[in-house]
């Protein structure tokens, strides 16, 4: 049977993480389902609660960034005035209110599910993660953090402390989650796309797809190819853009949907973004 710890401070948490082999426990909405068992949850290791630590719950603006404490609840992020629109939309569509009142963004990230809904916006918005251990801290880019389903760059003694989201100006935005139903739904696939268009020219563009590969699909080279184009040039290139993306979106069949559907819908959504959302 597992032991559980409830540190009083971040320091104490880091000390415990350093000395023992522990499962960090934030909202527990993933952990309690994954370890469900009769009578008591069946954790493989001992557990350390961190959801209650105020130091990890802060959401604040720091220069041109929004810094989100890893243990801030999804509800807190959803209702915070400075949360970027794309992230807010994604968070608001995670599960249902009761889940969002407990679940955290740190948990959503560290669970590293390809269907984790806050992750595609974090990719698209160039977010970075601050990891901390007793020995110190380091900052990792979102796309360097995820190694595969359930696998991340986090070291055993580290915790995710905060999420740093650059507050960039995007004037065209699209978020769309395609789930198993209208609410309280797991994601079949999603698109997060943003562009900055000035004087008819595409200054910046960022496109991420969720749940269609072992990690989020975002390709900077393909984005680079679009940057700098005028809208007219881009429109002409839509078929070739779609075929480029078609080559890197390689989803699977599972109990929720099919590979064929996921891919087709992602391409349709991308096309819709390029043709409709980028109209004006």
């Amino acid at each position: 049977m597992s032991e559980s710890y409830r540190p009083e401070s971040l320091d104490e948490l880091l000390k415990l993480m350093d000395e023992k082999d522990l499962i960090p426990f934030a909202g527990g909405t993933d952990l309690m389902v994954q370890n469900a068992a009769p009578v008591l949850p069946g954790f493989k290791k001992d557990v350390v609660f961190l959801g209650h630590l105020k130091e990890l719950q802060q959401i604040r603006k720091e220069g041109h960034d929004l810094v989100i404490g890893a243990a801030a609840t999804l509800s807190a992020i959803e209702s915070h005035p400075d949360t970027p629109g794309l992230l807010r939309e994604a968070v608001a569509l995670i599960a249902a209110p009761a889940l969002r009142n407990r679940g955290t963004m740190g948990g959503n990230i560290c669970n590293a599910s390809p269907a984790g809904d806050s992750i595609p916006p974090l990719y698209a918005l160039d977010a970075k993660f601050r990891l901390q251990s007793r020995k110190g801290e380091r900052v990792v880019k979102a796309e360097d953090f995820f190694k595969g389903p359930g696998r991340t760059d986090r070291k055993k003694e580290e915790i995710l402390k905060e999420i740093i989201v650059p507050l960039k100006e995007w004037n065209i935005k699209k978020y769309r989650k395609v789930g198993t139903r209208a609410a309280n739904a797991l994601t079949k696939c999603s698109i997060t796309a943003a562009a900055k268009v000035k004087g008819g020219r595409i200054d910046d563009i960022s496109i991420a797809f969720g749940a269609v590969g072992p990690v989020i699909v975002r390709d900077r080279t393909l984005e680079q190819n679009i940057k700098g184009l005028t809208m007219e040039e881009m429109k002409e290139k839509i078929p070739s853009i779609l075929s480029d993306y078609s080559a890197i979106i390689v989803p699977i069949d599972d109990q929720r949907s099919t590979a064929v559907y996921r891919k087709q819908v992602c391409l349709n959504l991308l096309k819709d973004f390029l043709e409709q959302d980028m109209k004006g």
């Binding site: 068992a37 009769p38 009578v39 008591l40 249902a96 769309r176 395609v178 198993t180 139903r181 209208a182 609410a183 309280n184 739904a185 797991l186 109990q255 929720r256 949907s257 099919t258 064929v260 559907y261 087709q264 819908v265 349709n268 959504l269 819709d272």
Partner: protein
């Protein structure tokens, strides 16, 4: 509206909302042991050996060798064993029950069994079943039932046809997802087993358990606990749990509870029968339908259960609300190595109605006519001959129902405006549902009795075996008694169904509760009223009497009146379709029904709305797939039912059509409400997307793949 229809507060509403109601898992039975099943991991195999784990003190294993009577669960047939004997037939079949105090230890013990199987070729599809793969599972043809119906002269009609259209329609399994999972407690009391459970049919449980224990009828007692939803899923499946549990209680003389966790329930309990129905239609030169030929196949799963009866309802509803001059039908329920399929609200009729309504829509489209206008031409009327050569005895008020539904939904304008493929669509379905048991079942099989007893304090008690499971029966029965006796409803007491206390008024199924048993309660109350003397105890009995107008039923030839009366309805569904993601959202829902006279309008509207949403879930959300006989959607995250945001507000209305044989003119309303949602939905999506479909659940994946 009629006085009886004026809503009263449900008698159980406050207690339930405020959390006082004790469901089976909420009750304190003192020192309770728990039971957990060891289950088959293979769809079809010979059981070579079962090595049992060493047991800690206070733990027990119960299996086939502990059964004092027969190792057979008596439902209609008795082919489903309590514990597997030398072969297993589906993944999840019970092999043994482990009993003990700690649920964690039980789980470990179940995992420590070593079961050796010798795999046999599994029957994983209807094709496998028809090809008798691996040898027949049932009889020599794998047919639990193979029925034929004939009306008119279809052969001639097909010969003379100008045009023939044939198409096949399929529906998937559906899980009940009653919010309260299966749960039972057995205690040893007064020298016999007393079972308390979440269930629909106390006497079915008793009927199943007594031969297993080898005792007489009153050798087992069954009490219904407040039941958190059932929808057919607690009609026969409780027999599976309670027989094994009774063997354990009988042997150990201890109190034992079996409570399913959700995942266990989804994967191991019975489901709605998947169907494949082929309809062939003969059209004459003017495009009139002259005949239809049906080949209706249900996947019955690994054991017979009540598949034959479900199939009967499927075939008797094959032509829905239409009078088709000549019809021919073959209906089969086939054995496979899937989990057994069983009762689910609608009981086989929704499958038939889906196929028929969708087929009619396609015929209308080919004729270039609005589907509603097309279908109207074939409406049954009073005196119409049914598919079993019986008769419609009542006034058919479909024209009034349709007019009201059109008015509420603005169907005509919308259908015209939206056109085909404009991403918005409206669909309308017609359907009926025969009340009560098929044919002469009410007299020949059930022969219900009810008891009404006035106590000396002038409170009147109702004794029936029909249960409150959410449908409002406790309130409607009390209302019938109160209004008949002209006393306040507070003076009525509904006695908790218990086989040692109440008479057998039959199971809580087949929309029979109000129209059959409610009527008997009304008659008994009327008798009581005549004998009423203040302050005296009086008991009145009432037995079922068959209406005298029916065309006698022949159970061998299926000829005559399959049902004495029908309820009728129209569902209208409006949708928006997103051609980018192939997703559909429902934006409008309207329903109009003839259920005779609703006994409490609000309670019936509750049935209408709940049943409609369930049928919409079946139509597009609730996907359940088998892979090598194993269910793929194993949690509520993967088997998804509608949420508050998947359905809009719903509007309902009634057309009154009092049924002289029913209490206060009532007909059945519990099941018909599941019949029309799916075809109306599919019809709306066909309009919105401009595509044509034949299979549900109509998921976005299917919509994408469907060609024109």
């Amino acid at each position: 509206m009629n006085n009886i229809s004026t809503p009263v507060r449900r008698l159980d509403a406050v207690e339930k909302t405020a959390g006082y109601t004790k469901y089976i898992a909420d009750r304190d039975f003192g020192d309770l042991l728990y039971g957990k099943f060891l289950r088959s991991e293979r769809p079809r195999a010979r059981l070579v050996s079962v090595r049992k784990p060493a047991l800690p003190d206070g733990y027990y294993i119960i299996d086939k060798d502990d059964i004092p009577g027969e190792n057979a669960i008596h439902m209609l047939g008795a082919d489903w064993p309590v514990f597997a004997d030398d072969e297993v037939r589906f993944i999840g079949q019970s092999i043994a029950l482990v009993v003990g105090p700690d649920r964690k230890v039980l789980e470990e013990l179940v995992n420590q069994f070593e079961v050796r199987y010798e795999d046999l070729p599994a029957v994983l599809s209807l094709e496998d079943s028809m090809a008798l793969k691996g040898g027949a599972l049932h009889n020599d043809d794998n047919c639990y039932a193979d029925y034929h119906l004939l009306k008119g002269d279809p052969d001639r009609a097909f010969e003379e046809a100008d045009h023939i259209y044939e198409h096949t329609y399929e529906t998937g399994p559906q899980e009940h997802v009653y919010m309260e999972t299966q749960g039972f407690v057995g205690v040893w009391e007064d020298g016999k087993v007393h079972l308390h459970g979440s269930l629909q049919c106390p006497f079915y449980v008793r009927h199943a358990v007594t031969p297993v224990l080898g005792v007489k009828d009153d050798g087992v007692r069954v009490t219904q606990a407040p039941t958190g939803g059932a929808f057919g899923g607690k009609e026969h499946y409780p027999d599976i749990i309670s027989t094994a549990l009774a063997v354990a209680v009988d042997k150990l003389k201890k109190s034992i509870g079996i409570f399913y966790e959700r995942g266990e329930d989804i994967v191991n309990s019975v489901k709605r029968h998947p169907s494949r129905i082929t309809i062939k239609t003969a059209l004459d030169k003017e495009g009139n339908i002259t005949a239809m030929d049906f080949d209706s196949i249900l996947d019955g799963g690994a054991f017979e259960s009540c598949s034959c009866i479900v199939l009967q309802r499927t075939i008797f509803h094959a032509t829905g609300v239409y009078d088709i001059p000549s019809t021919k039908l073959r209906g089969r329920a086939l054995a496979t190595n899937h989990i057994p399929f069983d009762a689910f609200r609608g009981f086989g009729a929704p499958q038939a109605i889906f196929a028929l309504e969708t087929h009619m829509d396609h015929l209308a489209e080919m004729a270039g006519v609005d589907p509603v206008a097309y279908k109207e031409r074939y409406f049954m009327k009073k005196g119409s001959v049914t598919i079993t050569n019986g008769k419609i005895h009542e006034e058919v008020k479909l024209p009034e129902i349709l007019a009201r539904a059109k008015e509420m939904s603005d169907y005509d304008r919308k259908a015209k405006e939206y056109g085909k493929g404009g991403n918005r669509g409206i669909g309308l379905s017609f359907f009926n549902h025969g009340g009560a048991f098929t044919g002469n079942g009410e007299k020949a099989i059930i022969n219900a009795h009810v008891k009404v007893r006035k106590r000396a304090d002038d409170v009147v008690e109702i004794y029936v075996s029909n249960v409150e499971m959410g449908q409002g029966l406790m309130t409607t029965f009390s209302k019938i008694a109160a209004q008949t006796l002209e006393i306040p409803i507070e003076k009525i007491e509904f006695i908790q169904p218990d086989t040692d206390i109440v008479p057998d008024s039959g199971p809580t199924v087949a929309s029979r509760s109000i129209v059959i048993v409610g009527t008997l309660v009304g008659k008994a109350s009327a008798k009581l009223k005549k004998q009423w003397v203040d302050g005296e105890e009086i008991t009145v009995w009432q037995e079922y009497e068959e209406p005298d107008f029916v065309i006698p039923w022949n159970q061998d030839t299926f000829q005559g009146d399959a049902y004495p009366s029908y309820s009728w309805g129209v569902n209208v569904v409006e949708v928006e379709y997103d051609p980018v993601t192939f997703e559909v959202s429902i934006v409008g829902l309207w329903n109009v029904y003839d259920v005779g006279v609703p006994i409490d309008r609000m309670i019936v509207e509750g049935q209408i709305e709940g049943g409609l949403v369930q049928s919409l879930g079946w139509a597009y959300l609730e996907k359940m797939e088998f892979k090598e006989g194993r269910i793929q959607q194993r949690t509520m995250a993967d088997y998804v039912i509608p949420t508050t945001l998947d359905v809009p507000a719903i509007e309902n209305d009634f057309i009154l059509n009092p049924y002289p044989e029913g209490a206060f003119g009532a007909k059945g309303a519990g099941e018909i409400v599941h019949n029309g949602g799916a075809p109306a939905f599919v019809s709306a999506v066909e309009m919105a997307s401009g595509k044509r479909f034949d299979t549900i659940p109509l998921t976005p994946e299917r919509i994408m793949e469907a060609g024109r």
